[in-house]
Symmetry: C2
């Protein structure tokens, strides 16, 4: 049975979508069957893989609101061994629509039951909030990867994120683990990056992935070509970092 | 009467808090009476100004839930001519608590009525979402400043943001204007920044501020010292850019 992984951090702009796109495609390039689900109404992971939102027939919104089965909203082989369940702006309405419904936190988990055995890994890209969409992803997940930007503000919300993970584990998903903490946009020239890195290692200890993603222009250019950086600029240090992260994740993942 | 300005963009990490902290302190350094309200539960603007969250007695959450008057939650003279209404994680609960209440969108606007004449400008830093907290800020504001990072993903959500501003103008706040669009984290060495800048100018035309904020390590280091960059590194190109933005904003603001 496949492992479901949420990319979550309510701090904005820390590299959740970039990691979802690049880690899922790197793992898929190893020959694993991978599904990427875009749980963010902004749909950055969708467009980062070159999918035009106008062409999307069914999205995660249609699945969560019960209109279609999960399989109907999947675009197959977007890249080698990589399927995508896209999202579009309709998903923005889901949070308010779900608030007063029954089992609002387990919609995504139930939708995935029928397809989880078709994949080795399912990655879910979360929006920058701890609202119902992120809660749905944490409830459906076996584990969480937490991208942390090597910047001062990035340290602030971690306590709240860990509290939310604990709450989900206690009430909704007892098996939820932290698969790892990923340092992103690391600029070795700045003191700040070194200070933040030291603090993150101090706080999370062995949960911090050995792979560190450097700040790299190729990484930020790749989405404008609709490609993961491992296909846009395979020799770049950003692409190489995501490949070693994928190796470390597949080899070392607990559970 | 003071002008209320919301810093809004649901895309994460585009420089909302950084702009809220540095623009408000630059305008205050000109001798204007300024209040900064932190409408983001993450409280980055609060800590970016050196305020310890444990020391905060009353926050925006206490004001919005009607427990205290706005004046009671204001910390005076955090920097020259700059008062702050801080936020802390309690505010994260407000979105869910407000959903089923009467006039949930106008809580902040009503709370500010008693104090708006004490200030020349009131800046509000919004979270990375278009939920009730951002709607409250847009409803209380005379105008919006939209920070846009010079990156590909930053272009995606703009249509939704403008739609939300239109909805607020139609149903909640007829006078809501766009005071301007601010290009942030501009790296002149990359083609991407030039491409994104060209697209933003094409889309927003004269609404784009002439001042462009460059990517600058001093800007990202300043919050770790609890200081606006204009006090942390006044000669840096980041500080100078925020000072010229402040001048342009104060001189050219319509209304
Ligand atoms: N390693 C990197 N080097 C350079 N730029 C990067 C890197 N990782 C991400 N970026 C850029 O930084 C910006 C923020 O990254 P991204 O959008 O992936 O973050 P996010 O956490 O998904 O944001 P949001 O909170 O809005 O969902 C994007 O423009 C992206 O292209
Ligand atoms: N001009 C700049 N140069 C370098 N770094 C910057 C600049 N502006 C902002 N940053 C850094 O980029 C990160 C994102 O900025 P900031 O937190 O202000 O964005 P935000 O839009 O408020 O994020 P959120 O969506 O989480 O509220 C921060 O770590 C900040 O220090
Ligand atoms: Mg994202
Ligand atoms: Mg912010």
């Amino acid at each position: 049975v496949g492992k479901a992984v949420a990319l979550a951090n309510q701090k904005g702009g820390v590299g959740k979508s970039t990691t979802a796109v690049n880690l899922s495609s790197a793992v898929a390039s190893f020959g694993k069957k991978v599904l990427l689900i875009d749980v963010d109404p902004q749909g950055n992971a969708t467009s980062g893989l070159g999918i035009e939102k106008e062409d999307v027939k069914y999205s995660l919104y249609d699945v969560i609101s019960g209109r279609v089965k999960a399989e109907d909203a999947i675009i197959k082989n977007v890249y080698k061994n990589l399927d995508v369940m896209p999202s579009n702006i309709d998903l923005a309405g889901a949070e308010i629509e779900l608030v007063n419904t029954v089992s609002r936190e387990t919609r995504l988990k139930r939708a995935l039951e029928s397809l989880i055995s078709n994949y080795d890994y399912i990655f879910m890209d979360c929006p920058p909030s701890l609202g119902l969409l992120t809660i749905n992803a944490l409830t459906a997940a076996h584990g969480v990867i937490i991208p942390i930007q090597c910047e001062y503000y990035a340290l602030e919300g971690l306590g709240q994120l860990l509290k939310t993970i604990d709450l989900v584990r206690e009430y909704l998903n007892p098996g939820l683990e932290i698969f790892g903490v990923l340092l992103t946009m690391y600029d070795s020239r700045t003191k700040l990056a070194q200070q933040v890195t030291a603090e993150v290692r101090n706080y999370f200890k062995e949960k911090v992935f050995k792979a560190i993603i450097p700040r790299s222009v190729r990484v930020s250019e790749a989405p404008s070509y609709g490609k993961p950086v491992i296909y846009y600029a395979p020799q770049s240090n950003g692409a190489q970092a995501y490949i070693s992260l994928a190796r470390e994740f597949v080899k070392g993942r607990r559970g």
